[in-house]
């Protein structure tokens, strides 16, 4: 029944509000990102109201980092495929249901575009 509800909603509303950022949006490689884009990604990652990555991760020059998750360094080595890194941020619980990491994309904490920028920034580390 809920499926029908959702379908009806989408049918009715899609014309008014196209959904922003979905799981399968194309990811950006670090090489395609401008310095301004990297700075934006960094801002989103550090912003307490956005990524707030420092709450749990050590990142480069970030102040007062937490240590709940692993340090975010050498990301290209750890995630040779940027889509895997993107998927991890989008919904870490898909691979590990018991993760403490919030599903940033799935639960709409960040938009798809914001996650792309964060991925690009992390890939530069």
């Amino acid at each position: 029944m809920r499926l029908i509800t959702s379908a009806a909603f989408v049918a009715g509303i899609v014309a008014f509000a196209p959904p922003s950022g979905s799981a399968d949006a194309p990811s950006l490689l670090a090489g395609e990102v401008t310095p301004a884009g990297l700075a934006q990604g960094r801002d989103i990652a550090f912003d307490r109201g956005k990524g707030n990555c420092l709450a749990c991760h050590v990142i480069a020059d970030g102040q007062l980092p937490g240590n709940i998750g692993p340090p975010l360094m050498a990301m290209k080595l750890r995630f040779p495929d940027p889509d895997r890194l993107r998927a991890q941020i989008w919904d870490a619980s898909a691979r590990n249901p018991e993760t403490i990491m919030p599903p940033f994309g799935k639960h709409r904490i960040l938009t798809g575009e914001e996650i792309d920028l964060v991925v690009a920034y992390l890939y530069s580390l």
């Binding site: 709450a55 749990c56 240590n67 709940i68 619980s93 403490i100 919030p102 639960h107 709409r108 904490i109």
Partner: protein, 287 residues
Amino acid sequence: MIRRGGRRGGVVAAGLLTGALLGLGFPAPARADPEADRIGFRSYFQQRFPDVPAEAWIDGMYAIDEGARQQWQEIEDFPPYEFTVEEGQALFQDPFGDGRSYGDCFPDAGRGIRQRYPRFDSETGEVETLEVAINGCRARHGEPALSYDSKEMLALTAWIAYASRGRPMAVEVPDDARALAAYEEGKRFYYTKRGRLDMACVDCHGRYAGAFIRGDHLSASLGHPTHFPVYRLKLGGMVSLHKRFHGCIRDVGAEPFDEQSREFRRLEYFLTYMSNGLEANGPAVRK
């Protein structure tokens, strides 16, 4: 209520069959076992922190942060909640309009009672916290209820906590289906992921207790309920346990429940039971 899954149904069915075969009639279905839970809860922290005795957790993260502990100890030597405690004692003794006072509702002039709360009230079938008991007393003597975050309520609970220091927490879950259900709901609340951040109490204060979130240690749930209300340096005032629950739930992006809501009273019931045996040591200073 907890929905029984098919698997569990199967186990129950097998149990019934076994019971019937053994001629024992109908065995009770699997039920809450608070004491087994408490032993498991304590042993989890014991395994994670072999050098930290369970008793030490009543001081929260100061159990594991030696540097911060010294600073904190200095504050506790001249505690900022001192006046609140004195105020609470005076309020406790102040006569109501009918000439009676709190002493008519609580035994031993209010001393040494904190460790028994929350308690299960078999008349209402609900969990009664100290705050609810205080307002219940007021109602019986024709006084209006105190708001849960009022200075008066915090002063009263601070004094009662103070006058109960050193008593081992001794919360009881009586053999009453309603009490066990309330306990089980509190337990379920603690372990349930919620909100936009999809986090459970146990994520931060169980599995990751002791880790740093930004610059702060995550404290352990073991020992949490022994020392409330607390004086929070950050806020410059007294804070109840439920106010803390409220803040945590908000922080994970869920709509918080009200102080003294049924949900929070049950959570307190479960959590306090987990700390049974640890000393009551409220009020306390926290960051």
